[in-house]
């Protein structure tokens, strides 16, 4: 009995700590909200296009087997007209990703996928703007496809176009690709990261070593 009593006290003591943590929580949220210095209405908060054309996507959602690493990659691939392997997702790294309430309730597909599609479509439209300005041509004659913008006898890779112009532009209300035109979304795809899983190289939380340990 005595031992039980002690345990209960311990529990209560921890609860007290929990209340304190809660009281400090808003400050953390405020810090996270603009992670990377980017407000969430900017394209750059959600994705970067590297000089070699590699696209890095940032989302607070985490992959725990629902295969959202694959489905969100499909969403970005569709709108940026890119192959799946040109895209890498940074998930749940709160130093780098926009604020997110958490991964729960089957919300990733209805809420995060449209956000990323819109950011990717905005990036695509911005690349077309940049190309039109660079070549002084009418933007309606340009097409973004497979990592290259082409038209009017010109062509440049996404990486080249984005190089001197970080995509620090607001996410726009651009139309998203119609389901009937989908080439990557809405169809089965091999699991992104599957090879690392079957070879034992995928690092789960319990496989990580903190630098000091």
């Amino acid at each position: 009995m005595k031992r039980l009593e002690l345990t209960r006290r311990e529990v209560l003591a921890r609860l007290g700590g929990g209340v304190l943590v809660l009281a400090f929580a808003p400050a953390c949220v405020a810090q996270n909200r603009n992670s990377g210095g980017q407000a969430n209405d900017r394209i750059a908060a959600w994705l970067h296009i590297g000089p070699e054309g590699k696209v890095t996507v940032f989302t607070g959602k985490v992959e725990v087997g629902q295969d959202i690493r694959t489905s969100l990659t499909q969403a970005v691939a569709e709108e940026l007209r890119l192959p799946m392997d040109a895209i890498e997702l940074v998930m749940g790294d709160t130093d780098r990703v926009p604020f997110d309430q958490g991964t729960f309730g089957s919300r990733t597909t209805p809420t995060m996928a449209p956000i990323l599609r819109r950011a990717a479509a905005s990036a695509r439209e911005t690349l077309l703007d940049l190309a039109a300005a660079r070549w002084s041509v009418d933007r309606s004659g340009l097409v973004a496809e497979g990592g290259t913008v082409r038209g009017g006898g010109h062509s440049a890779t996404y990486g080249d176009l984005a190089k001197d112009q970080p995509l620090d532009k607001p996410v726009r209300e651009v139309p998203l690709t119609e389901p009937k035109d989908w080439k990557v979304m809405g169809r089965p795809m091999p699991k992104v990261g599957g090879r690392a899983i079957v070879t034992g190289r995928h690092a789960y939380t319990s496989d990580l070593r903190r630098p000091a340990c």
Binding site: G65, P190, K191, G194, R195, I197, V198, T199, G200
Partner: protein, 156 residues
């Protein structure tokens, strides 16, 4: 630490110091950095830690490292360079994983089966794999993947 043991792991001799009760799983994960074998239950009930010892599927969490005499093969030693083992390939092709935490243990246990029975029936596969738990419940595809791997082996 009271004993030095030398293990052969994935073709390499590795010497480490262990307590008499240090498990093979601890040695693999903590001393040798081979984290492909997973800690699930730690008491021989889930199969996540399965590796081959002398070709036999073995639960490394309940196997004292000091008692291991035969060659150990872990998931990291299964592929031939860039060429995946037929089971690894089949798990990918069948999409036989959700979180994937159980997968390395599943593959190692199935590798032990195919080594002794190249053409198992579905019933034999299910019986052999019975002790491997998949929390995500991917069982149907796991069985399909093992069947696919057996067919692939046969046609080679």
């Amino acid at each position: 630490m009271d004993a030095k043991v030398t293990l052969r792991v994935n073709g390499e001799a590795r010497t480490i110091e262990v307590f008499p009760d240090t498990s093979l799983l601890e040695v693999l994960r903590d001393d040798l950095g081979l984290t492909g074998a997973k800690y699930g239950c730690g008491e021989g009930m889930c199969g996540a830690c399965t590796v081959l010892v002398g070709g036999k599927p073995t639960r490394s969490c309940v196997t004292p490292a000091a008692e291991v005499k035969a060659e150990v093969v872990t998931i990291e030693g299964l592929a031939q360079g860039d060429r995946l083992h037929p089971l690894q390939q089949a798990f990918l092709e069948e999409g036989a994983m959700q979180c994937g935490y159980c997968v390395t243990g599943m593959i190692m246990n199935a590798a032990g089966l195919l080594a002794t029975n190249a053409k198992p029936t579905t019933a034999q596969i299910k019986e052999h794999m019975e002790g491997n738990v998949c929390r995500c419940c991917t069982y149907e595809r796991i069985v399909a993947a093992i069947e696919r791997a057996a067919r692939a082996e046969e046609s080679r």
